[in-house]
């Protein structure tokens, strides 16, 4: 069992195998994600009761919170892949680190946009410098920095490792950024706006939230695989195995 797993892991490290396996897996990830999203949204938008404080505006939670979770989770994935790329110089780890960044930026942007739209009826303005929105904004800048660095370096292998270092530096920084922004927020605004997550959320609201989170995670997995196999093809396009692919004939 263990040997089979190790074997699988090594095969994933080889681009042609990864290309084949990812092509088979990605549709399942995305399909399952879409099914879960449909279920989660039906539950969240139709079945879940109205919040007595925020009315129906709270229903933005079912996309805002999963997007915010994913924005952090994707950064962690990118940093882990970056670490693997640096320590073992694995080609596939470089590919995974580089391709995670634009997806993570997308989720961060989503968290910001939905948070701002949610904030308008709740706080009366589109933007407040509240701790969570601010750290999410800095996170977006971190992602954009990674993407800019990746685009600026022409040699793909070097780009992968440079992104790895930057992602690791960012991972050390994220908790510090979060803490500093929170500290700054308590100085200047007082605990005015952090009424969002009531300490106890009723299970009928929580279950669809978790379903949506799992759906977003699967969707991330699927699109990550799609982007990664594109990157593999771009890097190895003149190799024999890529030339002999049925879709290339």
């Amino acid at each position: 069992m263990f040997r089979a797993l190790v074997n699988f892991y090594h095969r994933l490290g080889s681009p042609p195998h990864f290309y084949r396996i990812s092509g088979r897996l990605a549709p399942w990830f995305i399909g399952l994600a879409l099914v879960l999203m449909a279920g989660g949204l039906y539950w969240g938008l139709v079945l879940a009761p109205t919040d007595y404080e925020q009315g129906d505006a709270y229903r933005i939670i079912y996309i805002h919170v999963p997007a915010a979770w994913l924005s952090m989770f994707v950064y962690m994935c990118m940093a882990v892949a970056g670490g693997l790329a640096l320590v073992w110089r694995m080609k596939m780890a470089e590919v995974m680190a580089v391709t995670a960044a634009p997806i993570g930026a997308g989720f961060t942007l989503l968290a910001l946009a939905t948070g701002s739209i949610w904030g308008k009826p709740m706080w009366g303005t589109w933007w407040v410098w509240d701790a969570r929105l601010t750290s999410e904004l800095v996170l977006l800048f971190l992602y954009l920095g990674v993407i800019a660095l990746d685009n600026a370096i022409e040699d793909r292998r070097l780009a992968g490792r440079a992104v790895g270092i930057l992602a690791l530096v960012g991972v050390v920084n994220i908790p510090i950024i979060h803490y500093s922004v929170e500290w700054w927020n308590t100085l200047h605004q007082g605990p005015t706006v952090t009424k969002f997550d009531a300490p106890s959320i009723h299970w009928s609201m929580l279950v669809p939230l978790l379903v949506m989170a799992v759906a977003f995670m699967l969707y991330f997995g699927g699109t990550w695989l799609l982007r990664a196999r594109n990157e593999v093809l771009r890097r190895e396009g003149n190799r024999r195995w890529a030339m002999e692919l049925p879709e290339a004939s």
Binding site: L86, A148, L149, I153, I165, V169, L187
Partner: protein, 222 residues
């Protein structure tokens, strides 16, 4: 190892002394950015006092971002950096010495100059003192983090903008703690805790940034 450190430090400082105008220009940039700010505002004593520490800190940030590139640029272009990296000496030590040299010619003058800017903004004397101390603790962190960014971008033809994009988000905590500590002291709150935090950030940066810089340099030199 100590000898390598001193030799590199001496060499970089000597180069800086030969390039006096360059060093002076950085300082002038710092002063100008901060001095230009009140001109864009309705000059009112209380407003100036309120924004002063933040403006000085942002000016320090920009002055650092604009100058870190010189840390490795010329040595990279003429190939001496590659020689240094190929040598038997640990690259981390060399990097530390270079960062120290950069701080001595960029960060330290900013700290020395900051009381003058404090006067521009009508800051009371004890706030000027606090501002100088936060800069003293914070500017080395800026240089250390800057080194990582430069090491990643030094091989690029147009690395400047990318460098700015990389560094500014990483500078957020230093800016937040640096500027707000001065604000806090202005309202009479005890600032021991944020000083400790700035010190902790410095300790963290001193231990983690040089090895990261060395690793990034090896990639850029490839």
């Amino acid at each position: 190892m100590n000898r390598l450190m001193w030799a590199t430090l001496r060499r970089d400082l000597l180069l800086a002394v030969r390039n006096r105008t360059e060093v002076a220009n950085r300082l002038l940039f710092f002063v100008l950015v901060a001095a230009v700010f009140p001109l864009g505002l309705d000059v009112e004593r209380s407003l100036l006092q309120a924004i002063g520490p933040s403006v000085v800190w942002v000016a320090a940030l920009l002055a650092t971002v604009l100058s870190v590139d010189t840390m490795f640029r010329s040595d990279f272009d003429d190939g001496s950096l590659e020689q240094m990296a190929l040598g038997p000496q640990p690259l981390t030590v060399l990097v530390t010495a270079k960062v120290a040299a950069h701080w001595l010619v960029t960060g330290l003058p900013l700290v020395v100059m900051s009381p003058l800017l404090g006067l521009f903004f009508n800051l009371p004397a004890h706030e000027i003192g606090i501002l100088a101390i936060t800069l003293l603790l914070g500017t080395p962190v800026l240089s250390l983090l800057g080194a990582v960014g430069v090491a990643l971008t030094v091989g690029l033809r147009r690395g400047g903008v990318v460098l700015t994009l990389l560094l500014l988000p990483l500078y957020v905590p230093v800016l937040v703690f640096g500027a707000n500590t001065v604000h806090l002291s202005g309202s009479g709150v005890d600032t021991t805790a944020p000083f400790y935090i700035l010190g902790a950030l410095l300790a963290l940066a001193v231990t983690l940034a040089p090895p990261a810089t060395a690793a990034a340099l090896r990639i850029s030199l490839n």
